[in-house]
Amino acid sequence: MSKPEMNWAAIDADPRFQALHKKKLTFLWSLMIFSVVYYFLLPIGAAYFQDLYKIKVWGPVNVGILFALSEFIVAWTIAAVYAKRANREFDAMAAEIIKDAHNIK
């Protein structure tokens, strides 16, 4: 293979890579934890807060149905938020590192 040798340890230690790593990790973890908690609230609520789920808010539409529908909206929103940030910020930061990668010794 004709791929040039890289000094991976040096790239890893580079402040630009460290900045990307920190930003990405905090962002990903917070989204991940939020989505998991929000998802498990649905079955837990269905089991232990049935009375809340039964409250009718819009004709026969009750809290439970709205909550279940909101799961879809939340999942799509998380995907959109991640994609926007990744497309705009993370990709640019990575491109910066890639451009310079062979010079980082």
């Binding site: 990405k24 089991a47 149905i65 279940a68 529908l69 879809f72 999942a75 990575a94």
Partner: protein
């Protein structure tokens, strides 16, 4: 390779005389339409395969479609790979029979993709090549990690595959009455043709075609059913609540509790939780398996190697989430629409699990069972269901074959020294082996209860593949020892727990039920209401240990119940009644009752015969020891724990040295496998 195909075709021809013997949801006079639609879809996919085959020469083309699939295309293909018949027909069916719970069940299948998007898709694209084994072998000892990865891939694929083959065979039989064996062999041969000749490119396009058909069919059906109510959510749901059939179905499900409820309350109950999913701990266990298992599914992981860059991988998950999520929202209307228009009782009459909800709704929308258009719609939905099974099976076979050929043969046996030609041949031969195995398993497992195998596949992926991939990508100290132990322990625990769970068949319970049907039930005295019982400890919720008090929901008071007659007695009475009737409608109703009773009787008799003298399940138990249906709650944390403990306990120099490279590359995509030039 051709010999096998010819052999299969001969078998197909030999039994084709039986093909039209059975009866299904499609009436005989309209079957030609179903076959015409089937034919059109098969012709289209065959053309795609022919086109793909001409471009499939190298290994990268065979396994990864030359990494030339665009993000949007891959998003559709992921949806096509993921929306199995179980979700297309199964979830619509659950909603049509149990309302809210069916809808709640669908949520986890979408949320699962958040894990795929955030932590798996892009890093895997950046450091991987063709398989799960490639990702793990990046910094772990290659031969050891490829071996366990391949074993795990084959295990997961086989479970999923068996569920698809058996479920598909039964489904096609119920829909159009084609013999079970012919369906299984037919699905197998088609899928083999796509995979062996067209590799990943043909598989991708078959999945795209199927996803487009599925979404189109669903949108059309929802337009008709929801459109009647001016696309108003409360208007539509009010019709559900007011529907007498729905109210009756709820009364049937909740039993004694229905006695003090008004029809409106019964209808509204359909929109409230608790009709189907009763054990919250089991739901959390299933939720964990879905949310973490999807990201560890080898056939889903493999899809990310088909796009040119990590950005395209990201785009494909976003598209997949839009399609899959949108589809599940539509399912709410499909299921509820089937409940009001077709009737829960009619749906359950054809198939207990409710799989016929969507097809019957299609027939209704087109004008009913006797109309041309109704049957054309039904034919279309049946054909989509068929395409669904073939597309999902093709993806699974490709994943299992790549593990066998690329990880085991090329990686482990040949030590990564195989010529490009040799690799492609190995890939094709493995596909044929896996494909034939799939057909064999499909035939051997006829009549078995395989529905739990889908959940088991997800549980194994979540307990074995995901901890290994996740910790390899994100944890510096992870190494070969941890990965190998974690994967083996995670997978074995998941399988072992299912073996002792309520999913297995327990002969004593089956015999008891069969006797109830044949001999009837004695009179039951009135019972007072009972408050809910809480299990004596959390472990007692999970295991049937000695000294445990089992948790039980509150039970309302029930009045005295008359004795139920046995099947023979019931049949005699019904026949007597039939002789006295003159009204045609009543006669039809009684005839339906007689048919149902006869069916139940013959099933009970068959059960008694099958399980005669048996007292224990496959695992030697009289009743389940593990009380959850899904093992994820225990096996997933255990899988993670083993990777962590064994990584800390042993040192692996290579895993440490490769960390910097892996971490930089997974985040930046430097040196990622590029698209092949054309």
């Amino acid at each position: 390779m051709n010999l096998k195909l010819i052999g299969g075709a001969a078998a197909l021809a030999a039994v084709s005389s039986l093909a039209f013997a059975g009866t299904g949801a499609v009436a005989d006079e309209f079957k030609w339409m179903t076959f015409a639609v089937f034919g059109a879809i098969i012709a289209l996919t065959m053309y795609v395969t022919y086109w793909a085959a001409r471009q499939t020469h190298s290994t990268s083309e065979f396994y990864a479609a030359g990494r030339s699939v665009t993000g949007v295309q891959n998003g559709w293909a992921i949806a096509g790979d993921y929306l199995s018949a179980a979700s297309f027909l199964g979830i619509a069916g659950l909603i049509s029979l149990y309302g809210y719970d069916g809808f709640m069940y669908s949520v986890g299948w979408l949320v699962a993709y958040i894990t795929v998007l955030l932590v798996i898709a892009e890093p895997c694209r950046n450091i991987g090549k063709y398989t799960l084994g490639d990702i793990l072998a990046f910094r772990n000892q290659p031969k050891a990690s490829k071996t366990v990865a391949a074993l795990s891939t084959i295990t997961v694929s086989t479970f999923y595959l068996t569920a698809q083959m058996v479920g598909g065979g039964v489904l096609i039989k119920t829909l159009i009455g084609i013999d079970y064996y012919i369906s299984v062999i037919g699905v197998g041969i088609l899928m083999l043709t796509y995979v062996v000749f067209g590799g990943m490119k043909a598989t991708t396009w078959v999945q795209i075609i199927k996803a487009v058909l599925l979404v189109t069919a669903s949108i059309l059906l929802v337009m008709f059913t929801w459109g009647q109510y001016g696309f108003s959510l409360p208007g539509f749901l009010q019709a559900v609540v007011d529907n007498p059939g729905v109210q009756k179905q709820v009364a049937k499900v909740i039993g004694d509790a229905a006695l003090n409820m008004s029809p409106e309350e019964l209808g509204q109950r359909f929109l409230e939780p608790g009709l189907f999913l009763k054990n919250p701990i089991d739901q959390i266990s299933l939720g964990m398996a879905l949310v973490l298992g999807t990201a560890g599914m080898p056939h889903i992981l493999m899809r990310f190697f088909t796009v040119p860059t990590a950005q395209d991988a990201r785009k494909s998950v976003i598209w997949a989430m839009a399609i899959i999520g949108g589809f599940y929202v539509l399912t709410l209307f499909l299921g509820m629409g089937a409940a009001i228009n077709v009737g829960s009782a009619n749906i359950a009459g054809l198939d207990k699990g409710g799989n016929m909800a969507a097809p019957l709704l299609a027939q209704y929308v087109g004008g009913g069972a006797d109309s041309m258009l109704g049957n054309l719609f039904l034919a279309f939905v049946a054909a989509v269901a068929f395409a669904t099974i073939v597309a999902v099976v093709a993806g699974l076979v490709l994943a299992a074959a790549s593990a066998m050929a690329h990880d085991i043969y090329v990686g482990v046996i040949k030590g990564d020294h195989a010529s490009p030609q040799e690799q492609v041949i190995a890939a094709r031969v493995s596909s044929i082996i896996v494909g034939i195995l799939a057909i064999y398993v499909g035939i051997a497992a006829e009549g078995q209860n395989v529905a739990h195998l889908v959940a088991l596949a997800f549980a194994v992926a979540a307990s074995s593949n995901l901890p290994a991939v996740f910790l390899t990508l994100y944890w510096k100290r992870a190494n070969t020892y941890g990965i190998v132990t974690g994967m083996v322990v995670g997978a074995v625990t998941a399988i072992a727990l299912v073996m002792i769970s309520p999913n297995m068949t327990y002969p004593q319970a089956v015999i008891k039920d069969a006797k109830k049907v044949l001999e009837g039930e004695p009179m039951q005295p009135a019972k007072e209401a009972k408050p809910a019982v809480v299990a004596s400890s959390f472990m007692c919720e999970l295991f049937a240990m000695e000294g445990c008090v089992k948790s039980e929901p509150a039970k309302p008071a029930s009045p005295e119940k008359a004795a139920k007659p046995g099947a023979a007695e019931k049949l005699a009475k019904l026949n007597e009644k039939l002789a006295t009737l003159s009204d045609e409608k009543e006669i039809a109703a009684v005839k339906k009752d007689i048919a149902a009773t006869e069916k139940a009787k013959s099933k009970a008799e068959a059960d008694l015969k099958t399980f005669e003298g048996q007292t224990t399940s496959m695992a030697g138990l009289e009743k389940p020891f593990f009380l959850l249906k899904n093992p994820g709650l225990i096996s997933i944390p255990l899988g993670f724990l083993c990777v962590i403990v064994f990584s800390l306990a042993f040192r692996d120099k290579r895993a440490e040295e490769m960390w910097d490279e892996l971490y930089v590359r997974q985040n930046t995509g430097i040196h990622a496998e590029g698209a092949s030039a054309h």
